[in-house]
């Protein structure tokens, strides 16, 4: 169900995305609502979505806010970073530091866990999230 490519970050330089994936974009918040190199959480209906402003890489990511480890709404409060040769971007849940790839949502080191990821695009200082 999860398409790893759909989680890829989209920066301003990424054009034409709408034609690649049929996606409904919702306006989530403003760029400066999300701390640099950190995350914030937004509410979309009953869903909670974590948004990350990876300033260091000039990339944005979005994932579910629920940590599947102990069902805590906390991913947005986690630290982001990278791992491995290819500098895979990741986020660590603040509770027990399970880390998840921001690209695929897979938990690093625990194959049984994973989180949903969403595409992000930035237009006019606004952050949009693609809801499948």
């Amino acid at each position: 169900m999860r398409n790893p490519a759909a989680g890829k970050a989209h920066t301003q330089t990424n054009y034409n995305m709408e034609t690649v994936i049929a996606t409904r974009w919702i306006m989530a918040c403003y760029v400066d609502d999300v701390p640099e190199n950190g995350g914030s959480c937004i509410k979309h209906g009953d869903e909670q979505i974590a948004i990350f402003n990876f300033t260091r890489r000039n990339e944005w990511y979005a994932t579910q806010n629920l940590c599947p480890h102990k069902q805590q709404m906390a991913i947005s409060r986690g630290m982001i970073g990278s791992t491995g040769e290819n500098c895979e971007p990741k986020v660590a849940c603040p509770f027990h530091k399970k880390t998840f790839s921001l690209l695929s949502g897979e938990c690093i080191g625990d194959e049984d866990l994973s989180i949903k990821t969403y595409p992000v695009k930035i237009t006019d200082g606004k952050v949009f999230i693609g809801i499948a």
Binding site: I42, Q72, M73, M79, G81
Partner: protein
């Protein structure tokens, strides 16, 4: 076409290991497991840790999904009741009947319960399963005294557990004339008995129990010599009985004293049925330890997959864990002259007894006993097992082990490649060195992952660490604790670099000295370094702060936070108490007094935090830094202002000290204590620094630690005045902050410090490095730049904005944060 079916009876440690070993060898079997216990296999060896806060989950050997993922059908809570060997079927309690091609009995053993009148009374327990421990725990809550029947390995472990459960009067009743009769001799037993008495255990030897007295519930034990011992509870640990009832019923051959007879391939008298673990009897012997059980599992798995492997007995060397007294016995511990030469070492003052037995030609070690100091155990065991030729003065083996760490390291490297290092997982020295040499492994976690060494009983972990370090050294690799994949430096090195470079934020540090984009390990380390160096407001760099530092509060179950205002020295006015009460009421917070003499308020929503703090700050409170790796509290006793024993004013001093060091970030949290006299009501000697009033001034103790590995603080200076004390404390704390690895408490730091306490004393008191003045100045700068982080956060609109759960709906709270009522307050909902 269809796979042959293997049914495993028993989902204990060995049954589980069998599945693992079989899967590793072949995928051609259909595996079905029946377990009598309600939970899947867990670590019985570390069962006692259940009392120290480990949960059943923590003890599990795998996840439940491991079974399904590997195609294993697991029936829990459903014991097998009957085997029909003619039809090759089994029948379970819940009525399942299944056909097998091969049957593996891993039914373990049960506690042996002697037939004593009254044994069925309430308050009498065995010590075998998680359920047993739950019952014991419940009973211990209302018990004042308890006894353990049996002074063997397990009995002593159970006795220690009773003490840990708060039963101050704990007795051990042993039938034999000595403790641990299977492992140690009588001289060793007397020494052990002395040490255990110091721990508060009452030992009774040569006692046989005649009856258990009491109405419904046990009230006392009656012995054969007509004496009585009143107790509220009894744990029986008088040995084990192999669970062979199923095998017996099926007509398999069993031993006269129990146990299912097996051959060296683990086959019973029916070639389609195997028995492994504690239920198996090999050459008249039950092997009641985990390592041989695992070996049996592998032998059976090998035989089923037509591989060549046999079981030929096992080394039963043991080291007692947990009890707080080192006890070890290895090889042939009991052999006596003239069949060997025995070397004894005894120090009654320190409570040390060592015995080694060597061959008459002095070449080989046969076995021995260590009480009070078992540091050399692993190495000696290796020396026996690998028949390593002894040095010309074999007594060095037991006398020279103190402080001879370099020797021990070299010793490890001199082992042959096929020396078995981890017996639980059968990993050799060669395999471990290989993982370092070709697998690029550089630490124990890596070794655990790639070889499984050290994942069993864990006894081999120190040896494995030495091997890894030794191999790396031999390769010319520099052994150091680098922070993580992004920084090739230890914390101390990075600290110096950041200071010299004058770098003030994380990205700059990463650009200069690191690579990649950082992670949850290095970010908080750098945050702590920056803070220790420049003492800037940490929320300015919120995103590199650890979970709690990010929102200046401790994250709790459910995602709410707890709030702890500073209450220096534990002194608080009635007015301030009222404010705390009002705030807690207004925001629906659960309140509790902490161990550090202050008040914790739990259950605050993220968006309420600034509001709560605004009120607290208005009433004169400051941040308590309960969330930070920083000074927490300086606990004090009431001292000379009220106490009739008090020599000096301990409260005032505690407040002064707490105010001086508040807010200073360190590699780990720091706690202090000040007592007004030697009675030590503030428990200062369990703190990172402890101050105790004397007739002539104050004594300063450092590097104590509560927590999971308690350690007493050690005396740094005697009878000094306040000024000198603060000077030493400045130097000590700053030296620690600058040189310790991340997340290392002062106690661990000291343990790793070359030269230990005498070196530290030299640096701090005698200023041997000439650093004294510099350290004092650096500390003074930190003291001068103190600010209350919460005040800054509350007064800064940009920072305040971050305290919202939903950034697009800041007024809404997280609906997932839920509470349940408890004793007129609330608690977080269970996860």
């Amino acid at each position: 076409m269809s796979k042959p079916t293997i049914i495993v009876v028993g989902n204990g440690m060995v049954g589980y290991k069998f599945c693992e070993k079989l899967l590793a060898r072949s995928a051609q079997f259909q595996i079905i497991v029946f377990g009598e216990e309600p939970r899947h296999a867990y670590d019985r060896v570390h069962l006692s840790e259940y009392f120290n806060g480990k949960t059943a989950d923590d003890l599990s050997l795998s996840t439940l999904s491991w079974y399904t993922d590997n195609g294993i059908t697991l029936h829990l809570d459903d014991p097998i009741q009957e085997i029909n060997r003619a039809e090759k079927t089994i029948h379970s309690l819940k009525g399942v009947t299944l056909k097998y091609d091969y049957l593996v009995l891993a039914t373990g053993s049960s506690a042996f319960v002697p037939d004593i009148p009254g044994i069925e009374k309430e308050g009498v327990f065995v010590y075998r399963t998680i359920e047993d421990l739950e019952l014991i725990k419940a009973c211990a809550a209302n018990a004042k005294s308890g006894a353990v029947m049996g002074g063997g390995l397990l009995g002593l472990e159970a006795a220690k557990a009773l003490i840990d459960l708060g039963i101050t009067e704990t007795h051990v009743i042993e039938f034999a004339p000595r403790l641990m009769p299977r492992q140690i001799d009588s001289a060793g037993s007397s020494m052990l008995q002395m040490k255990l008495s110091q721990l508060g255990l009452h030992i009774h030897l040569n006692k046989s129990t005649a009856a258990i007295v009491g109405d419904k519930k046990i009230s006392s034990l009656k012995f054969n010599d007509d004496s009585q011992l009143p107790v509220d509870m009894l744990v029986i640990s008088a040995g084990i009985r192999p669970r062979d009832e199923l095998a017996r019923l099926a007509g398999l051959h069993v031993g006269t004293r129990g146990g299912i007879i097996v051959n060296e391939k683990m086959q019973t008298s029916d070639e389609y049925i195997y028995a492994i673990g504690e239920c198996a009897l090999y050459e008249g012997m039950i092997y009641g330890l985990i390592a041989p059980g695992y070996e049996m599992a592998d032998v059976a798995a090998a035989h089923l997959t037509a591989a060549d492997k046999g079981f030929y007995g096992y080394d039963m060397s043991t080291k007692l864990k947990l009890i707080g007294v080192d006890v070890a016995s290895f090889g042939d511990a009991f052999i006596t002259e003239p069949d060997c030469r025995t070397i004894l070492f005894e120090d009654t003052h320190k409570g040390i007894y060592k015995r080694i037995n060597i061959t008459n030609d002095g070449k080989n070690l046969l076995g021995g006993i260590l009480i009070g100091d078992a540091e050399a155990y692993n190495m000696l065991l290796q020396t026996v097992n690998n028949k390593i030729v002894l040095p010309p003065d074999p007594e060095d083996l037991i006398l020279g082990s103190r402080g001879g760490e370099t020797n021990a390291g070299a010793g490890v490297m001199s082992l042959p490649d096929d020396a078995l290092i981890c017996s639980c997982e059968a990993v050799t020295k060669g395999a471990i060195c290989d993982a370092v040499n070709t697998g690029g492994v550089t630490n124990i976690d890596g070794i655990k992952k790639c070889t499984k060494a050290g994942t069993g009983c864990g006894g081999c972990v120190p040896l494995v660490k030495d091997l890894v370090a030794g191999t790396m050294k031999a390769n010319g690799q520099y052994v150091k604790n680098v922070i993580c994949e992004h920084f090739d430096y230890s914390r101390q090195e990075l600290f110096d670099l950041v200071k010299i470079g004058g770098l003030k934020n994380y990205d700059l540090v990463l650009d200069h000295y690191g690579k990649g984009d950082g992670c949850e390990v290095c970010k908080p380390v750098v945050a702590s370094i920056l803070s220790s160096l420049w003492n800037d407001v940490i929320v300015k760099q919120e995103v590199i702060q650890d979970s709690n530092d990010r929102f200046l509060a401790n994250i709790q179950k459910g995602g709410t936070y707890s709030v702890v205002p500073r209450i220096p020295g534990g002194e608080i006015t009635p007015d301030k108490l009222i404010v705390i009460g009002q705030v807690a009421k207004r925001y629906g917070l659960y309140t509790k007094i902490t161990g550090g003499q202050r008040i914790d308020m739990f259950g605050a929503h993220l968006s309420d935090l600034p509001l709560i703090w605004e009120e607290l700050i208005d009433a004169g409170f400051e941040s308590g830094h309960a969330y930070g790796k920083a000074l927490r509290t300086v606990k004090s006793c009431v001292g000379s202002t009220w106490c009739r024993f008090g020599l000096h004013d301990s409260v005032t001093f505690a407040i002064e000290i707490e105010d001086r060091y508040k807010g200073i970030r360190a590699p780990h949290k720091i706690k202090g204590g000040v007592s007004g006299c030697v009675r030590e009501c503030a428990e200062a000697q369990s703190k990172d620094f402890g101050i105790i009033a004397t007739e002539k001034g104050w004594n300063l103790y450092v590097c104590g630690n509560g927590g999971s590995k308690p350690q007493h603080a050690q005396l740094l200076a005697t009878d000094i005045d306040k000024e000198t004390l603060v000077k030493y404390l400045d130097r000590f704390l700053m030296f620690y902050i600058k040189t310790a690895d991340q997340l290392t408490r002062t106690a661990t730091w000291l343990n790793k410090l070359d030269g230990g306490m005498s070196y530290l004393k030299n640096v701090i008191v005698n200023d041997s490095l000439g650093l004294g003045e510099q350290l004092e100045e650096e500390m003074q700068t930190l003291v001068n730049t103190y600010h209350c982080e919460w005040k800054e956060a509350v007064n800064n609109p940009a920072m305040r904005k971050r305290f919202a759960h939903f950034i697009n709906a800041p007024e809404e709270k997280d609906p997932h944060a839920q509470f349940e009522p408890m004793r007129e307050q609330v608690r977080a909902k269970e996860w």
